[in-house]
């Protein structure tokens, strides 16, 4: 049998093998959930202590919704992973510069770390400015601002 005939014989065998197999199907997977739903499901998992599953859903939401990054930041803040939290709060603000809660929580993170307190004050003022017509939110942000100012006073007595 010549080399050429051997190749044709091999090709025939491969085609015969393939025709006997069920070929893998290419399936395009749709994301079944909206960003809002990813956030809701992530939050539900987070409340049950399933942090890794929550993180997956927040990451999925963050592709189209800045709150995904905010919620990731919140998880990392509660697990004391401050660097990751800061990174995600900044990503949230980059994606949506009107996300007032992200300003508040980033400011709170700086308060907890006891660093960049001047910047924290600016951030919380920005949050108040964004939500100025929402008294309930403003009250919460003012509380953060009050704490930051107190910390600034103790660390720098000449402040104010």
């Amino acid at each position: 049998m010549s080399l050429r005939n051997k190749y044709i014989y091999c090709l025939f065998l491969i085609i015969l093998f393939l025709s006997g197999c069920s070929m893998p199907k290419i399936v395009i997977l749709q994301d079944p959930l909206t960003p809002e739903e990813h956030l809701q499901l992530g939050l539900s998992y987070e409340k049950k202590g399933l942090l890794q599953e929550a993180i997956e859903h927040y990451k999925e939401a963050s592709k189209r919704d800045a709150r995904g990054f905010l919620f990731l930041g919140n998880i990392y803040l509660t697990t004391n992973e401050y660097d990751k939290a800061e990174k995600n709060y900044k990503k949230a603000l980059k994606k949506d510069s009107k996300l007032a809660d992200a300003y508040n929580n980033l400011a709170w993170l700086y308060y907890l770390k006891g660093e960049k307190l001047d910047m924290a004050e600016e951030l919380i003022k920005k949050a108040i400015q964004i939500e100025h017509d929402n008294p309930e939110k403003v009250k919460q942000y003012e509380d953060t601002l009050k704490k930051i100012k107190e910390r600034l006073k103790t660390e720098n007595p000449s402040f104010l």
């Binding site: 893998p24 987070e46 919620f71 709170w108 009250k139 919460q140």
Partner: protein, 123 residues
């Protein structure tokens, strides 16, 4: 005397309630941002997990009736486990088949190139 005790109790209670609210308000938790009550989350979770499984079955070519039949047989715990694992299982199954397919395609390409009088050398 009773009035004095009551007044003292109230002033201490008001002080501590005010203190606790003040301490908790500085960090805005996710549920506040999302404006969702904790008691609603369980119902939402079940609904969304059903939605995930239903969509995946649809992606793999199941009919509406078949999807409903399968979902109806699942209890809450199975539904939850399946929703967490459904993508992992499918990806793991596809990976092996995809590797075999890729190898077969490469073999075919090499054969065809050889048949046309060229040589394939791996250096």
């Amino acid at each position: 005397m009773l009035k004095k005790i009551l007044a003292l109790y109230l002033s201490v209670a008001i002080f501590f309630i005010g203190f606790v609210q003040s301490a908790g308000a500085a960090f805005i938790p996710s549920e506040v941002t999302l404006n969702t009550k904790s008691e609603d989350l369980q119902k939402i979770q079940k609904f969304l997990e059903m939605k995930i499984i239903s969509q995946r079955l649809k992606d793999f070519g199941y009919s509406e009736k078949e999807i409903l039949d399968r979902l109806n047989t699942l209890d809450e715990q199975t539904l939850h486990s399946l929703a967490l694992k459904i993508d992992e299982l499918k990806i793991a199954g596809d990976a092996g088949a995809a590797v075999i397919l890729a190898l077969v395609i490469i073999a075919l390409v090499v054969l065809i190139i050889n048949l046309t009088g060229h040589r394939v050398v791996v250096k």
